[in-house]
């Protein structure tokens, strides 16, 4: 039994886990060489951690030695933690043997910065190259791109990797300056821009020659830390919006800050802001799949998401003039905007109503969740709600049920005590 590997795996998995991305979808790599693995189509979560997150990839750092001293990061130079480094061969062996046993979809490899950006990036690329060329591995590879690495290295990384990512981490230049003095926005955005250009170029080339080399077919992503610094949800989501539009990112991940240190540069928090992180993800989904503009979700008057209700309900309560919606005639785009109705339900509704006028019973049988939706829709002009409520009353009814107002107020107060205590 090789105890050294066990020790390294412990340290380098621990150090990588705050990177929340674990997606393995969107790849187009087929197994055409009778080799090992296949990364086309749907991602697969092979397991789930006890905190409920998907385990799809072997997510590790190549090393947690780092020359930087970013306050939010567990791997920062000044932090007193055990350090370790894998060899290229050790990472390859772990990946292949885990993959063959169907534990994982592939590898997510990141690293602390040792020596300099190019030196680090070159090592990451070497692992990917070895997997692809020597092991004939067609599984999923996600490589972290090190800011400051040369364009040639990034280009080579994209030939082997399915996804590349550069983490922005802090949602404003100001925070970056105070918490990660060695980094700056320009240096982070540069590789993102270069990856974007490569992606565009590779797509053009595939149009001309079908066999042109693919470049990171699952695109690029990034991560923002939520709650370590004082940015509002609006600032965070505006940044995401720009990233989706300007850099055509596949995903922006949000990582509720887990207090990994007592660095004096950080605001003091005791628990990761899990609910806030969840609301931001919901808002992100509204922008990507529900046709919402970031301006509709948050504005100057409402810079932060309501933690008690989901952002779609929040929008609906501020925009009562669109409702109630007649389910049998409303546009698909508007049905998507009804609180509680998701993409699947909306599609079923639109499909079924071609055959017969829909009643509420039909909706229930189809599995449409009416708890929130019933206040915003009619079926053949009938409503499940007799009374008219103002937005504040509605909010209370949805949050605390249809019981007495008194018990609702009590719950709210107890909740406040709990928060303070």
């Amino acid at each position: 039994m090789n105890d050294k590997i066990i020790g390294k795996l412990k340290i380098l998995a621990d150090a990588a886990k705050y990177d929340v991305s674990c997606s393995s979808s969107g790849g187009k790599r087929k197994n055409e060489n009778k080799g090992l693995g296949n990364a086309e189509g749907m991602g697969i979560c092979h397991s789930y951690t006890e905190d409920g997150r998907c385990v799809s990839l072997l997510k590790i750092l190549l090393t947690n030695f780092c020359i930087y001293d970013c306050a939010y990061c567990v791997t920062r130079k000044s932090n007193d933690v055990q350090r370790a480094a894998f060899t290229v061969q050790e990472v390859v062996d772990l990946t292949i043997n885990f993959y063959r046993r169907n534990y994982i979809e592939g590898l997510f490899l990141s690293s602390g910065i040792f020596k300099d950006a190019d030196y680090t990036m070159e090592r990451l690329v070497r692992v990917a190259r070895k997997l692809r060329q020597e092991e004939k591995f067609n599984g999923y590879i996600h490589l972290k791109t090190i800011p400051g690495a040369s364009e040639e290295l990034i280009k080579e990384a994209g030939l082997y990797a399915d996804r590349l990512s550069v983490n922005i981490e802090l949602p404003s230049e100001q925070s970056l300056q105070s918490l990660a003095p060695e980094k700056n926005y320009a240096e982070i955005l540069m590789p993102m821009d270069s990856i974007k250009n490569q992606l565009v170029q590779a797509k053009e080339e595939v149009k001309l020659f079908k066999a042109a080399p693919k470049f990171a077919p699952a695109g690029q992503s990034t991560q923002l830390i939520v709650g370590a610094t004082s940015e509002s949800d609006r600032q965070i989501l505006q940044l995401s919006d720009q990233l989706y539009k300007g850099y055509s990112l596949k995903r922006v991940y949000y990582s509720g800050y887990v207090p990994v240190s007592t660095d004096s540069r950080l605001s003091i928090i005791t628990e990761p802001p899990i609910i806030r992180e969840n609301r931001i993800y919901q808002a992100d989904w509204l922008m990507r799949f529900y046709g919402f503009d970031v301006k509709e979700i948050l504005d100057e008057a409402n810079p932060n998401l309501d933690l008690d209700i989901d952002p779609k309900l929040g929008w609906a309560l501020r925009n009562r003039h669109f409702f109630p919606l007649e389910i049998n005639t409303a546009d698909y785009e508007m049905i998507l905007r009804v609180p509680g109705i998701g993409v699947k339900s909306a599609k079923k509704i639109v499909s079924a109503r071609r055959f017969a006028p829909l009643h509420f019973d039909h909706l229930r049988q189809m599995g449409v969740v009416l708890k929130r939706a019933k206040y915003f829709i009619t079926c053949q002009t009938k409503s499940l709600q007799r009374q008219d409520f103002d937005s504040e009353q509605l909010r209370r009814r949805i949050l605390f049920g249809e019981g007495s107002v008194r018990s609702a107020l009590l719950t709210q107060q107890l909740d406040l005590f709990r928060k303070v205590g």
């Binding site: 197994n31 628990e271 055959f355 189809m366």
Partner: protein, 259 residues
């Protein structure tokens, strides 16, 4: 009243549809032969599977249905829960008797039900693709045993063929007592009953059959699983929603720690 019996195969069931139309005798019940009870009332029709008749029914459905709706019907067969034969029959009859396409008409109860079954079976298929854990044997075979809620083994074979083209593997369904074996060229369905073993041990690998590194990688996987977790974010409810306890038996990371 007509009681149809068939041999339990999908082709057999399609033959029942053919025979019912031929006789214009609509079934009261459809059952596999070995389960059928003699009935005092009505007539029993014993259907012999006929590939040509089955094929005509399938082609007829193909003309009127999308690939995904056809898949739903096959999934309903693999669903195996009581009443699935009737459901497939009723669905086929509605398709043949309607002048226009009935697909997506979720206001019709059995169209909705078939759609929901499709979802259930698909989810179980996806779970098996995720939760299968191969163990490497001393002779280089990667072996896994499963016991899915529905009969999804035929549905997951292609996924594993594409993925593990260069390794010999076998997946055994211990509750339905058959398996799939890939020999680097083809996949065959096989029975591998071992009369020396008790039903509970049936299809399980013994540790003395392991490759020398098998235990080591199981242990490393457990180490990884424990260290990728963030204890500050513990959320047992969410964890259980994603991997219900009945799936834990497959998962090496959910077994007692080897280290």
């Amino acid at each position: 009243m007509f009681h149809y019996t068939y041999d339990g195969s999908f082709e057999g069931l399609l033959t029942v549809v053919f025979e019912a139309y031929e006789r214009k005798a609509w079934p009261t019940t459809i059952e596999p032969e070995h389960l059928a009870q003699p009935s005092m009332f009505g007539e029993t029709v014993q259907v012999t599977t006929d590939e040509e008749k089955a094929n005509r029914v399938w082609q007829g459905l193909k003309k009127r249905l999308s690939a995904s709706a056809l898949e739903s019907l096959y999934y309903t067969y693999l669903w195996e829960q009581s009443g699935f034969e009737r459901l497939i029959f009723d669905y086929a009859r509605l398709v043949f008797d309607s002048p226009e396409s009935v697909e997506g008409n979720y206001t019709a109860p059995f169209i909705l039900q078939v759609q929901q079954i499709h979802k259930q079976v698909h989810r179980e298929k996806h779970r098996m693709e995720a939760f299968v854990r191969f163990q490497k044997t001393a002779d280089g075979l990667y072996y896994a045993s499963i016991a899915p809620d529905f009969n999804v083994l035929p549905l997951i074979v292609r996924h594993f063929e594409k993925r593990y083209a260069d390794q010999r593997w076998a997946i055994y369904d211990s509750s339905r007592r058959y398996g799939a074996y890939y020999d680097l060229q083809h996949t065959a369905f096989v029975q591998l009953e071992n009369p020396a073993l008790s039903p509970k041990q049936q299809g399980r690998l013994q540790t003395d059959q392991f490759d020398e590194n098998e235990t080591r990688y199981q242990m490393l996987w457990q180490v990884y699983f424990d260290h990728v977790n963030i204890p500050e974010r513990k959320n047992p409810k969410l964890h259980l929603r994603h991997i219900p306890k009945r799936y834990w038996k497959y998962l090496s990371e959910k077994q007692p720690r080897l280290l």
